[in-house]
């Protein structure tokens, strides 16, 4: 008993216990707001992640992958359950967040300060980060003028410049051109070597296969599969194929009445 406990102490990095998240959706009437509706995005997910694991989360759009990732980072309120971690997980999302009106350079400065760098460290590393992001030509322009791919690259460059014990990535590898993809794969490898646990949400099965040691398949907010990448991805692909086939046959059967 003591032996297993001490083993646990050294390896367990994250523990999700019955995590349930729902969103309140306000449906509006013509003039006055109607009552709120509850939509469950994540339903009772329990998961254990150990040191050195890099877990890929796959599933269809709207399955609850990103919400689960945000729940892991403590960014959403849980309706039920709890998330435990050995240190605060850092979530690197993508998209035009940060501060749209500020330049790329200012966003790098702010991002690095927020991640805990000192001013001196920021000054020291900023050129390197700009270089890696591949948006050096636009670095003095406001972020609002960036394409979403450029913004995502900038953000990945900022976030991956700092070491994290637990790293959560949302689609970070699916952005950018081929060159950036290769560089970010390398960077991911480095991060995984340094970070103790990585969780990655992606629609790119090749990215997942290439960088994950374990895959969790989420369907309608629940865990549908959990295991070796090849096994889970194969099962998921088979299910997707079956669904596509069903839909095609369904269309043929139902005539065109349901089409708008």
């Amino acid at each position: 008993m003591d032996a297993t406990e001490s083993v646990e102490k050294s390896t367990l990095r994250m523990l999700l216990d019955d995590v349930t998240v729902s969103y309140r959706v306000h449906s509006h009437g013509r003039f006055v707001p109607r009552r709120a509706q509850q939509v469950e995005a994540v339903r009772g997910v329990s998961l254990e992640i150990s040191a050195g694991e890099s877990v890929g989360i796959i599933g269809r759009n709207g399955a609850g992958k990103s919400t689960l990732l945000r729940a892991m980072a403590g960014l959403v309120q849980l309706d039920r359950g709890a998330v435990y971690a050995s240190s605060p997980p850092v979530l690197l999302g993508v998209g035009k967040t940060l501060v749209p009106r500020l330049s790329g350079r200012e966003n790098i400065e702010l991002g690095c300060l927020a991640l805990g760098m000192t001013r001196a460290a920021v000054r020291e590393h900023i050129d390197e980060i700009i270089d890696f992001s591949g948006v050096a030509d636009h670095i003095e322009l406001p972020l609002s003028t960036y394409s979403s791919g450029m913004a995502a690259r900038l953000k990945f460059a900022i976030a991956s410049s700092v070491d994290h014990e637990i790293l959560l990535l949302d689609e970070a590898l699916a952005t950018g051109d081929l060159d950036f993809k290769e560089r970010s794969m390398d960077r991911m490898q480095q991060l995984r070597d340094r970070a103790e646990a990585v969780v990655l949400v992606s629609h790119s099965m090749s990215a997942i296969r290439g960088s994950c040691t374990r895959v969790v398949w989420i369907e309608k907010g629940r865990i549908e599969g959990d295991g070796k990448p090849d096994d889970v991805i194969d099962a998921y692909s088979a299910e997707s194929r079956r669904r596509r086939l069903d839909r095609r046959q369904g269309h043929r059967g139902s005539d065109r009445r349901s089409d708008p």
């Binding site: 646990e8 216990d17 998330v83 501060v99 953000k155």
Partner: protein, 305 residues
């Protein structure tokens, strides 16, 4: 009998699994994520991010300048145009010019001082609801945003300060020792503006509609606090109940204007006298504590879509 036994078992099972997850996490040295920090740790986290706050406030200011052709000149033009408008409306047309010895000086102190409160409240209120993306993409406590908004407004006030001095000196206002009290008055206004920003930021984060009425409410508050002319003197002629006058004199807006005018204007003694300084300190304390506690209790709800 049987079913209650089963229920009991189920309850025990449930308790056991709950216990074991929590226990296991605890045994493995894991901490619960998303729990609200203690208030002390929350404030400590704010202090640790002071470099970020400073950089963010400066960057926001710069970005604001870039969108306008006259850039930083607006820091001066904004209070000057407001003053000019009030001078014509209240000083000239409504005859407030003669109600105090140095009306232009009175107006200048009022406009510049109330601007700290008004602009802190306004940009603080927006700071969280307008920057949700920042909260979800950077590991920062939400309290940073309203705080940075206040820092930004205080910077703006400091930039425009020479104009206030020029107006005062050019209206033959004597430079006296009591001017040294003005920085103290500003130091009392800042925590009040911060507390107000925090309260409004939490409120507006779940009721964005506030943004629609806030500018009007703030201007009316300025009017009631005597930014444009000594309103209590007019009110006292109306034969209203005593408490109305009491509220007008000791509402935070009036109190902060009174201490600034007390410090800077030689020929004007605000109603309330020395009690204003006590009231100013009390309001600062109340606003800052209430703001921090209320905002802290909402932490965890700000990043939500």
């Amino acid at each position: 009998m049987l079913s209650s036994r089963a229920d009991e078992n189920a309850a025990q099972d449930w308790e056991h699994t709950m216990m074991s997850a929590e226990q296991r996490a605890h045994n493995s040295g894991l901490v619960r994520i998303g729990d609200r920090q203690s208030l002390i740790n929350y404030l400590r986290a704010l202090w640790q991010r002071r470099e970020f706050i400073r950089a963010y406030a400066r960057a926001k200011t710069q970005a604001g300048y870039r969108t306008r052709r006259l850039g930083p000149l607006w820091e001066i033009l904004d209070p000057l145009t407001t003053m000019a408008t009030y001078w014509v409306l209240f000083g000239l047309l409504l005859g407030a010019r003669t109600s105090v010895p140095n009306y232009l000086g009175y107006l200048a102190v009022g406009v510049f001082t109330f601007a700290i409160i008004r602009r802190s409240a306004q940009s603080g209120a927006r700071s969280v609801s307008a920057n949700r993306g920042l909260l979800t993409s950077l590991p920062i406590p939400a309290v940073i945003l309203p705080t940075a908004a206040v820092v930004q407004q205080v910077r703006a006030f400091i930039v425009s300060l020479p104009i206030l001095v020029i107006v005062l000196v050019s209206t033959d206002e004597p430079v006296t020792w009591s001017w040294l009290l003005a920085p103290l008055a500003v130091l009392l206004i800042i925590p009040f503006g911060w507390g107000t920003a925090l309260l409004l930021a939490r409120w507006m984060s779940h009721t964005p509609d506030i943004g629609g009425v806030l500018p009007l409410v703030l201007r009316l508050w300025g009017l009631a606090s005597g930014v444009m002319f000594p309103i209590t003197e007019r009110i006292s002629q109306l034969d209203l109940p005593a408490w109305v006058e009491y509220v007008l004199v000791y509402n935070p807006g009036a109190v902060y204007l009174a201490v600034m005018r007390d410090a800077l204007l030689a020929g004007y003694t605000p109603p309330g006298g020395i009690a204003n300084w006590v009231a100013a300190a009390v309001w600062s304390l109340i606003a800052a504590i209430a703001g921090v506690v209320v905002f802290w209790r909402g932490e965890g709800t700000y990043g939500r879509d």
